[in-house]
Symmetry: D2
Amino acid sequence: MSELAHLGPVELFTPRFDESLAFFVDILGMDIEAQDGPSTYLRGWGDYQRWSVKLTASDTSGMGILGLRAWSPQALERRVAGVEATGLGVGWTEGDLGRGPSYRFRDPDGHVFELYYECERYLAPEHRAPAHKNVPGRYTGRGCAIKRLDHINLLASDVRANREFCVDTLDYRLYERIELDDGSEAGAWMSATIAAHELIYTRDAHRAHGRLHHVALWVDTREECMRAADIWVDAGIPIEAAPSKHAIAQGFFLYGIEPGGNRIEVTTGGRFVYAPDEPAVVWTERERAKGQAWGVKTVESFHTYGTPPVDA
Amino acid sequence: MSELAHLGPVELFTPRFDESLAFFVDILGMDIEAQDGPSTYLRGWGDYQRWSVKLTASDTSGMGILGLRAWSPQALERRVAGVEATGLGVGWTEGDLGRGPSYRFRDPDGHVFELYYECERYLAPEHRAPAHKNVPGRYTGRGCAIKRLDHINLLASDVRANREFCVDTLDYRLYERIELDDGSEAGAWMSATIAAHELIYTRDAHRAHGRLHHVALWVDTREECMRAADIWVDAGIPIEAAPSKHAIAQGFFLYGIEPGGNRIEVTTGGRFVYAPDEPAVVWTERERAKGQAWGVKTVESFHTYGTPPVDA
Amino acid sequence: MSELAHLGPVELFTPRFDESLAFFVDILGMDIEAQDGPSTYLRGWGDYQRWSVKLTASDTSGMGILGLRAWSPQALERRVAGVEATGLGVGWTEGDLGRGPSYRFRDPDGHVFELYYECERYLAPEHRAPAHKNVPGRYTGRGCAIKRLDHINLLASDVRANREFCVDTLDYRLYERIELDDGSEAGAWMSATIAAHELIYTRDAHRAHGRLHHVALWVDTREECMRAADIWVDAGIPIEAAPSKHAIAQGFFLYGIEPGGNRIEVTTGGRFVYAPDEPAVVWTERERAKGQAWGVKTVESFHTYGTPPVDA
Amino acid sequence: MSELAHLGPVELFTPRFDESLAFFVDILGMDIEAQDGPSTYLRGWGDYQRWSVKLTASDTSGMGILGLRAWSPQALERRVAGVEATGLGVGWTEGDLGRGPSYRFRDPDGHVFELYYECERYLAPEHRAPAHKNVPGRYTGRGCAIKRLDHINLLASDVRANREFCVDTLDYRLYERIELDDGSEAGAWMSATIAAHELIYTRDAHRAHGRLHHVALWVDTREECMRAADIWVDAGIPIEAAPSKHAIAQGFFLYGIEPGGNRIEVTTGGRFVYAPDEPAVVWTERERAKGQAWGVKTVESFHTYGTPPVDA
């Protein structure tokens, strides 16, 4: 019962715009909803808003603005007041395409967020209208056929500080975290709903600021995750981690790097947290060394790589 | 952002206790957590509470008490006050196994509910301890290997009255409903979370009261639903509706009748409702005539049969 | 250890060529390999030959020529000699695109076949080259993403006569058949390999000749069959039988009608027959009345409709 | 069109019989068909013969006798004559449980085989009788619910010599092989059917003789492979390679070590080879260095470990 409804949309920067766009449209199977200057707005067939990913041509990679939808106008007001009190607020903006007034702020690590409530629902044009009216759009049947934006993993120099800000000020619920032997926090998995994770922070190995670990896009079945891997292999998309199951959150994953350099996950599954008083699971360094759910060891780059890249 | 956390546990009556118990344990793969007089408490490997289904020997079938967990002690207090104001309250009870003080009441149709907040979490004994500590219990790998209780479908003579009570007084969110050409309401799908449904009312064709349509138990994949069908066929469990996808809520189903007569669904999938202002989908009589998502026509018994059975 | 290697390619007639072609390419996700006059040659990404389905504009629907590849040049010679001896032979042809000398004949019901041995393997152009060299082509990731032609079901006035011809003269193996209470044969499932069926005959309810029941196209998983159903529903393709499991052969199915009127199945699964002395399973009328594997009743049109349609 | 029908049954030695048996019955979900002295005969629910795996208490691990069923009595005679001519024959035995006269021989590396034709079909007792009569036994729904024996991977000091013996003398078809830069052969994948592999030889890193790499057991879906991994993790079975897809043969795998030390694979999928003139795919050292189908690197133990273990 968070005051947040959900995370997104998200803006991604890419220094190789044309190739990134081709990846999102042809390989991931997302649809173009609108274009505006250096940006293209994309949607999965199951996103209820008009768009969930905004791809923006830039001189580097990484995340632009991350939207957070409040549960109600009143919840928005309360959360903005809370953020302002922390001194991290930036101020109100006009929002973005199909979105009402938005309050911009930075998390302690420097990532830019916008809190909003008002937004437009996607209204499918006739040729994209789905057979069932409880589904926003027609299944594209193209490439990975991404359904919707699912979650975001940010990097932070100080995971604990950001996690506490998210829980205390934004009203996120903490479901799982990693505490190293030295007492520091290496990762925190948070959610506004029963879904196992929506916003994740993991430690930035380079102690840089404002960087992105990955954007996760949803498909409904593990078979579709594995099908995505087949598509990526044939298309020459570098797979960083082949389909398998996470120990944390129990989600199924496929990780790779889009042409612009950003890490993309195709994901499904994950546990549901129905208990309102669910204690946060704390993983130790030793437990994490066991790897993923079926013993797959995490590749080193997963612990070090983020966008924008850090100069050597 | 409902004041309810989730639905359950649920009590089921059966006139053929031994056979029903064998079905739940051997065929569905649930575990026995406790026994008390005429009742046996059962759990799926993924239920976070000690039990989710209480099987009670009786002279007939149907539902006993349906638990509803409030989000917090304060939410419990507020909901109880609301129920009391409607005159449908019965009063406080000691709860049931592993559950604190519970407030008993009846919905307008006469089904018995208990609202509670306090409950015990399941603590797996060593031989049932799972490999991953963010999972309540070890995957049983027996029969259908049910994970947890998912949702309940009740029958009501007046669907609209019960739906309004659930939304207005219990704080359920309405996601979908059927409105017939005569303006009457034939079904309502409600939830306290982003899951597409937790509590459903459909019209009782016999205009009886307090009856059950079905109890739905969760597995994580459609393959497990189809595997359950294989197991049921071999075991001689009558399948009422073979695995397919619902149009409403988009869930995947398998329906059959347990030895005691109650309809059981093995389910997975279903859409997530992230929008806080999601408009309720209203299905017309004509739209419903198209059948399920892939055109499967609903069998007649699905519209008429419930438990306890109605005298001819 | 049949003298036949496998069935196919197959030619399909359609009175609505453009719409049929759009169905095969956009909805089924097959690729165009070549075009010649009124015909377009199509392939699934996993077909090892250049094409498996030839779509030919015609004034009606139904099957044109059905290819059968012999195991070796010697096996071809022996089978041709056998066919000639039955008086059903037509004579040698130049074959078709990418295929060597072919011997044309008719089965007792009048369907046209061509036996051949020589044929060209598909050589993927660079932009269609798969990542793994043991796969013929790149996974298309478009629509149903059909992998290859799987099996064909013909209609026949006299199933037994055609079955006996196929077993005795063509060297097919008989795996399953239906024998009605009056001793007549209602269906026969035959194969040249361990796959549960490649060539099927079922009774033509109209006692017509040379008609087609359906062409079955393969995908690797049941999830892809269900995904195909989603795509068909959105695209307005009439689904005759929603995804479920056959009792006979144990294959998973989705049936619908392509714009030209021919029945198309998207299929996967099915049992393997490793025993060289596997006794043919004989199903009785009563057993068939139980419906498909999970109890789904077969729709009436499945027993009566075929192509070309029969005048009333 | 091999003269062989299929591979199996297989005998496995184990120095920890009770634990191995518990693994095969409780974890893998195979059924006990018979017991005889130090041996227990096991079957999957889909094995058409009475048993497919014979577990024998021994002082070490590894493979005992590997059965090969000939396609016909005549094929058996011809193959035996061929083996005798190579000087690798041992002589006729009475066969084993439910099996007729068998001809014992050794492959060039020293593994013991028995060629046979006659064998008993499994006849399910009433309580194990399946609902559909084209299936040998009832789906167990216990543990990994193994369906049947699928394939065997042997280790050999000289892969090429053994591969040539299998192709030339036993009539196996060669589908894929690995040829290292020095011209030596590191692996060979052979089959008697359209299934991608039944008998595999890979190089014994210790230049020992007669050793086993792994026994592969079949389930029908990738979901069941992943489910098996969940069961193994909870049961403490060491997973050597988590579920993923092979590049060679395109099969889906899960590898682990049973309590007696033998490597077991739970497998499904794999390509079908319908072309009678399919050229054998030859993989280079560089191509193999890319890892499995989705890029998973093969763990070192997979290249070195076999049973019985080799003294240091």
